[in-house]
């Protein structure tokens, strides 16, 4: 009898645990699936909050905080008042530091977000902030490439930076285009560590490649 109760309890706990992790994966997948349309819908901030809630509840997963940071950063892209970038980027920074702590060490994807955070700060006043934030952004792209040479996202970001740098200064479409092509090939070959790991950036790369090919 005792044995029976014990096994029943174990089964139940397993179900609960399974249900729990299933719930985590389910919630993550649901929110991740909304990432691509976040820019059009303008609900990046909402998604950021969703991911942060998951992170707060889970306490031991780095990916929710990673996505929360990512969503905060991309919410600055659609923000018209660039002076608000600092506060949002600070929030993203706080989240990515949490993610890094939970991941145990810095990884390529985290470095990508750090580069984007620096760029968001820079956009507030590029002329006077490049010295500080431009350098941080560029060095994090390099770091992301070094930490995972197969990660297409730093290559895509580099292409984006080049696309917006005037031709006279070594940027422009001709320089950016091969980078987007390279990133696209890398996206096709890229295997995320799990269903929940980052895969974003392919459609943006296609969009920018089209821009660069015009």
């Amino acid at each position: 009898m005792k044995k029976t109760i014990l096994s029943a309890t174990i089964i139940c706990l397993c179900i609960t645990a399974f249900a729990q992790s299933d719930k985590y994966a389910g919630a993550m997948k649901k929110n991740i699936s909304m990432l691509d349309s976040a820019m059009q819908k303008g609900n990046a901030k909402e998604l950021a909050n969703n991911f942060e809630r998951i992170g707060d509840a889970e306490k031991s997963q780095w990916l929710p905080y990673y996505y929360a940071a990512y969503c905060n950063v991309i919410s600055t892209y659609t923000e018209k008042d660039k002076t608000k970038n600092d506060a949002i980027a600070d929030k993203a920074e706080e989240l990515i530091i949490k993610a890094e702590g939970l991941a145990g060490k810095e990884n390529s994807e985290i470095a990508v977000i750090k580069s984007m955070i620096a760029s968001a700060h820079m956009m507030v006043d590029p002329q006077s902030r490049y010295m500080q934030y431009g350098a941080t952004s560029a060095s994090n792209i390099e770091k992301a490439k070094a930490l995972d040479p197969s990660n297409p996202r730093p290559v895509y970001l580099e292409g984006q930076a080049k696309l917006y740098t005037p031709e006279a200064f070594g940027g422009g479409k001709d320089v950016a285009k091969p980078l987007f092509e390279k990133a696209l090939a890398m996206f096709d070959a890229f295997k995320p560590a799990s269903e929940l790991h980052p895969t974003w950036g392919k459609s943006a790369t296609q969009y920018f490649l089209a821009q660069a090919s015009k």
């Binding site: 490049y130 006279a168 200064f169």
Partner: protein
């Protein structure tokens, strides 16, 4: 049995199927709806984000007692226990705004700030070095801001009816005694310091903090850079000078050191650009500096900066008092300045900033009365001519120390107090035409104490209240100077500030020693400001009234003008506008400033209350900057206009036994258009081993015949205009950075 139990357990497990709807509205403390606020049940996934009307609504399957939490950057986190039973719950929340640096009002009455910090500022450090008329001189750039006068015959900042002596400069908290190169007759001098060593500049035209004293009108507060981003070697070549420098950043990025040396020789320049004075010693300058910076801990920084400069110049100009005779002026200057500062957090929210500077200045000035063959003449009748032959040696040594202790209070509020000590010893040796010698020494020990508090009641309202007390050993007097500033932020993010303060200052050293008992001169400032600042456009308007009391009066004894009493007084009032716009015209950044000044004073040898000769009624400046990407070139222009200034022939009237105005007038309006081009040929060449900037500039492009003021002969019969030494000035130089690719940095500095 087993089945039953299993079923029971399953039932318990899934019993929480009932759903509860939680909804409400989130407002801030002004009842404005908050958008994008995250609201959730603590430790669950359940929650949502508020919409643009601040409304939220979500469904949870949780049961029983749970914690509802709302959080947003810049707001105090909200938590409330709620009981979930399946019945819809409504919770309306009011979030309390936290006082944060990004949101809080800035106490800005009287002040222009250029710094790298996150907050949007009116100017950036780079603006100072790219202003066309400035030629990389800090004060020349400041002169494009409202409140300043376009005085070209004397160095320094003349602010809101104040003399240059009423403006003081501080580096890393401590006073700088000889900020400018030593004076030459009729020629304004540049600042001694390279603008690239400063990361922050605060120009206060009045109402400044109790941390600073001994300046009746204005404070220019400079903060030196911390560790450099990377090691570098630099070379600068122009037709005026050559220079080289080295900056070495340690591998662990915790310390750095640097040295540089510049040699300036104006021989070629003066051959190409004809100068009015006849130079027999064309200016030669040696400048060397050294620095080190050490990160003493995570929050501590120790900085040393030292400069050495030696200059030599000699020129002849027509003597005012005679026909065909000349004055030959010769100056040799040796200046050493050293500054050590240390910042450290000392725990429990306390922070200490200590600064110490030591400097010595030696001027060797001689003047000869010469005939047309440039031969020295000693003419004893009238005696006045004989006194035109003299030698003056001045030796100054200065020690300035300051310590500020700061305690961070709630929000951004803070308490600061500290002490400052200024020692100066100015010794002057005169040698007259007949070899007679005399020596004078003026020594001052000024001890000050100050306390100040920043109070942020909310993000929208703040106050800075401080007081400063000083004791002068020279005057043997005490003073107490209260200072108050208030700032209020409106709903549209524009802000209003007001400032009130009392400022004291010692008599100017060159009018000392006095035989009489003197007191501090005193100024009381009242300032009201409105400012609207966003990223691309800035508007500010300022209204001020300044009351002068106890200004010192002078009298001439044995050819020397000395301070005799504090019976002088006066006032200054006016308004100023500043507008900066980076948006309206694509790729063009411009600013306009306008100042109206109405001032009168009775001081020095003025016979009565009158408009001082250094004050123009209307002054306006336009500064334009534009980068043309295709040409890899930045074009900068600036135009300054000022209405004429009064000038006087004030002489002692022996019959009436007082000073009298024998002649007076107003100069014609002042106009100056300057233009500069920065060309960056290496831009975009990645992996370039060097980075080059070529600078070309012209001051007074239009060649306007500017007259600063008029000089009179001793008897008032001869009147001569004081003009710039050359109509136009051209600069062509090349700066090269080696070893490090700074291409991208510079590109983005200029174009993004």
């Amino acid at each position: 049995m087993m089945n039953k139990l299993f079923f029971l357990l399953l039932l318990i497990n899934y019993s929480a199927q009932g759903q509860t709807n939680i909804s409400g509205k989130i407002l801030d403390n002004k009842n404005k709806p908050l958008l994008g606020i995250s609201i959730s049940l603590k430790n669950t996934y359940d929650g949502t984000t508020t919409d643009s009307s601040g409304n939220y609504s979500f469904i949870t399957e949780e049961k029983g007692e749970q914690t509802l939490e709302a959080s947003a950057t810049g707001y105090k986190p909200f938590e409330q226990k709620i009981n979930l039973t399946g019945i819809p719950v409504t919770v309306n929340i009011s979030l309390k705004e936290l006082v944060t640096e990004l949101k809080a009002v800035v106490i800005s009455a009287g002040t222009f700030e250029a710094s790298d910090q996150k907050k949007t500022t009116v100017l950036n450090p780079i603006d100072i070095v790219t202003t066309a008329s400035a030629n990389a001189d800090i004060t020349a750039a400041i002169k494009t801001l409202p409140g300043t006068q376009q005085v070209g015959e004397t160095e320094g900042l003349f602010v809101r009816g104040g003399t240059a002596n009423e403006s003081k400069t501080f580096i890393d908290g401590t006073l700088v005694n000889n900020f400018y190169y030593s004076s030459e007759p009729g020629l304004a001098q540049r600042g001694r310091f390279n603008p690239f060593i400063f990361k922050g500049t605060i120009f206060s035209a009045g109402g400044y903090s109790a941390l600073y004293g001994q300046a009746l009108s204005s404070a220019l507060i400079l903060e030196s850079i911390d560790l450099p981003q990377q090691s570098s070697a630099d070379l600068a070549v122009s037709y005026l000078s050559v220079g080289a420098g080295l900056q070495q950043l340690a591998k662990n990025k915790k310390s750095s050191w640097g040295i540089s040396y510049d040699y300036t020789d104006l021989r070629l320049a003066y051959k190409l650009i004809k100068q009015k004075p006849d130079y027999f010693n064309i200016p030669v300058l040696h400048n060397a500096d050294a620095n080190f910076r050490i990160k003493t801990s995570k929050t501590g920084m120790l900085k040393y900066y030292g400069t050495f400069s030696a200059t030599k110049v000699g020129f002849r100009y027509a003597d005012m008092d005679s026909l065909g005779m000349k004055d030959a002026f010769k100056l040799k200057n040796l200046n050493i300045y050293q500054n050590l500062s240390w910042k450290e957090k000392i725990g429990m929210g306390w922070r200490m900033t200590a600064g110490f500077s030591f400097s010595t200045n030696k001027d060797n000035i001689s003047n000869e009365f010469q005939n047309e063959n440039n031969e020295k003449q000693i003419v004893t009748n009238p005696g006045l001519f004989a006194f035109k032959n003299f030698d003056v040696m001045t030796y100054g040594s200065y020690v300035n120390g300051k310590i500020v202790i700061e305690k961070k209070l709630k929000g951004l509020s803070a308490l600061r107090f500290g002490s400052e000590y200024n020692y100066s010893n100015d010794k002057t040796d005169f040698t007259l035409y007949n070899g007679n010698k005399s020596t004078e020494t003026v020594r001052e020990n000024l001890l000050s104490g100050f306390a100040e508090t920043d109070i942020y009641i909310t993000n929208d309202i703040a106050a800075k209240i401080g007081t400063r007390a000083e004791h002068s050993s020279l005057l043997d007097k005490w003073n107490i100077a209260p200072r108050i500033s208030l700032a209020y932020k409106f709903a549209d993010n524009s802000q209003a500030s007001v400032a009130y303060g009392i400022f004291y200052q010692d008599p100017e050293k060159k009018y000392l020693p006095s035989l009489n008992t003197l007191d501090f001169s005193k100024a009381t400032h009242y300032i009201a400001q409105y400012q609207k600042l966003n990223n691309n456009r800035t508007f500010r308007a300022e209204l001020f009234y300044k009351k002068y009391q106890d200004l010192f009066k002078t009298s001439t004894s044995i050819g020397q003008e000395i301070a005799v009493n504090n019976n002088g007084y006066g006032d200054a009032k006016g308004f100023e506008f500043f507008w900066r716009d980076k948006k309206t015209i694509k790729n063009v950044d411009y600013w306009v400033s306008y100042s109206y000044l109405d001032t009168k004073r009775d001081f020095l040898n003025y016979p009565s209350l009158m408009e001082p000769s250094f004050a123009a009624k209307h002054t306006a400046s336009l500064v334009v900057k534009r980068f043309v990407t295709k040409l890899k070139t930045e074009f900068n222009g600036s135009y300054t206009f000022a209405t004429g200034r009064p000038y006087y022939n004030i002489r002692y009237d022996n019959a009436a036994n007082n000073y009298k105005i024998f002649d007076a007038g107003k100069t014609k309006d002042y106009n100056s258009l300057s233009f500069s081009v920065n060309y960056l040929p290496n831009i975009g060449k990645t992996n370039a081993s060097k980075f080059t900037v070529i600078v070309f500039s012209i001051t007074n492009v239009l060649g306007s015949n500017n007259i600063y003021t008029y000089n009179y002969s001793y008897n008032g019969l001869n009147k001569q205009p004081v003009t710039p030494p050359a109509k136009r000035f051209y600069y062509l130089g090349c700066f090269i950075s080696f070893g490090i690719d700074r291409t991208e940095n510079t590109i983005n500095n200029l174009i993004l």
